[in-house]
Amino acid sequence: MKTTASARLGKPSKGNKQNAPSPVLKVLLHTVLWGIALLQIFPLVWLINYSFLKSGEFFGKSILKWPEKLEWTNYVNAFTYGSVPKFMLNSFFITMVTILVAAILSVMLSYAFVRMQWKLRKATMALILLGMIVPIHATLLPNFILFDWLHLIDNPLSLILPYIAFSLPISMLIISGFMETIPRSIEESAVMDGCSVFGIIFRIILPITKPAIATVCIMNFISWWNEFIMANTFLTSETFKTLPFSIMKFTGQYSSNYGAQFAVMTLIALPTVITYLLFTEQMSRGITAGAVKG
């Protein structure tokens, strides 16, 4: 269809060129793309490479180094002296509780905002959406005093509560956007059968909104797994510290074990990178949806 049209117009090459670029251009395109891709990924490669080196091997001339033998001791050190398993468990616990509660609360809020009819609906929704503008750093100082009053300093709740609160605006935005596309007829028939609103939400809406909930959970997982400032401010003892703190174990005042530091950094980076690679599509959809609506 298209070729005949362009042939008729006497420009046969134009249409073809668009679909099949010349080989030179194609090679150039791929070189440039691979170049930047390498720049983006290089630090990760470097990180993993150095996590297998002996501390003494660090200060040579070359940038990447083939290790004489894989220095697994770095990882052993990370697991023993760096308390990686303990800190990782803390990180997992805090992040999981956060994303679960945030998902449930966002679904409830979204349902109230999308389907229910009440007076302050719009105002309440606007108020929560304002939360996307508030920088988390502005709440660090007052929350420190607040948690001090409530004896929550050095308690996982001092992270879980603000994490959930700051997850709500964006999560609610994405889930309610999805909910608007669900036809009302399903719920109407459920009401006929005598289902309550909570029954509708948990038996009908929850299964349908699964894709949106998954997106929200993955996004929240990545942002809270990586959160550092609040963890650094509100946690003081070893008991509840999260994963990033295990690096600090190897940056002593007198000696630094670089090999183990790199091993720890690799261990911190891997969970989010793997999660992202497994759920690339959901992440991308969530980010663009959240961005466009916000």
Partner: protein, 294 residues
């Protein structure tokens, strides 16, 4: 159905948990900041009310505060003038990269999902004056004269930070533009082709103008992200040397916890939130002008 959906008690139980948590963890702390911002509290002991002195000092006498905002502006300028055009260009390239499309998208985004603790540590080692990779590369290609103390030089440090932030956010900007490109119907390309538009004019005259809505979204996100910048600076330079890389979030943290000016730090928090709110509202108003549908 209607009766069920306007039941006030149901609405209350749906909204209350989320809203209460949000008010308690986001709004209440800001109000607390407003209160402590009017005192000269040092973090311990008794304090006096000083009225609006803290606020007027921030706005009229605090050079570091304005400098922090200036740095956010520099970062924003670099993001919009360097990162975004490159991201836009690469999103177009990625679209044409055939079977590697997904792979490239994933690779470009990976830095954005890695913990800032890891990336900052990594970049600190890259910039290290003696052992850092950057100076090693300069040595390797015979440009030893260009070697610098990248993070220790008051003139250079802010630019080193800007490079790191741009590197980490690159995939995010690319993802937004890529999503924008996906939203442009394929037949528009074909129509432009039929009209005899060359490849370059196809993009400059047809595609990029159609991307305007997405560009606006990306700009709004960039502005808030630049204002809220803190972690990278906190972990790489902590605002130094002598506040040449200071950002508002880091400044208020330092003021309260290192300089023990808790009241003053809270006042900065409040001003910070207000600035974020004003800028976002102004931008949304300015960008509200409707764009053509396609």
């Amino acid at each position: 159905m209607h009766k069920l959906l306007s039941n006030r008690i149901t609405v209350f139980w749906l909204v209350a948990p989320g809203l209460f948590l949000f008010l308690f963890m986001v709004c209440f702390p800001i109000a607390m900041s407003g209160y402590y911002g009017t005192t000269n509290w040092k973090g311990i002991g008794s304090y006096e009310f000083v009225g609006l002195t803290n606020y007027t000092n921030i706005l009229f006498h605090d050079a570091v505060f304005w400098r922090s905002l200036w740095h956010a502006l520099l970062l924003l300028a670099a993001t919009l003038l360097i990162q975004h055009p490159i991201a836009l260009f690469f999103s177009i390239l990625v679209m044409h990269s055939g079977r590697f499309e997904k792979l490239f998208r994933a690779i470009f985004f990976i830095p954005a999902v890695i913990s800032i603790v890891v990336t900052s540590k990594m970049w600190v080692s890259v910039f290290h004056p003696n052992y850092g990779m950057l100076n090693k590369i300069l040595d390797g290609i015979g440009l030893s004269a260009w070697k610098q103390d990248w993070l220790g030089d008051p003139q250079l440090a802010i630019w080193s930070i800007i490079v790191v932030v741009m590197w980490q956010g690159f995939g995010y900007a690319l993802l937004l533009y890529y999503a924008g490109l996906q939203g442009i119907p394929k037949d528009l390309y074909e129509a432009a082709e039929l009209d005899g538009a060359g490849r370059i004019s196809l993009y400059t005259k047809v595609v990029i103008p159609l991307l305007t809505p997405m560009v606006r979204v990306a700009v709004v996100i960039a502005v808030t992200a630049c204002l809220k910048q803190m972690e990278t600076v906190f972990l790489m330079t902590n605002g130094g040397p002598v506040n040449t890389t200071q950002f508002v979030g880091n400044y208020l943290y330092k003021t309260a916890f290192s300089s023990s000016l808790y009241g003053y730090g809270n006042a900065i928090s409040v001003v910070f939130v207000i600035i974020c709110l004003i800028i976002t509202v102004v931008m949304n108003k300015a960008f509200k002008k409707d764009v053509g549908e396609f």
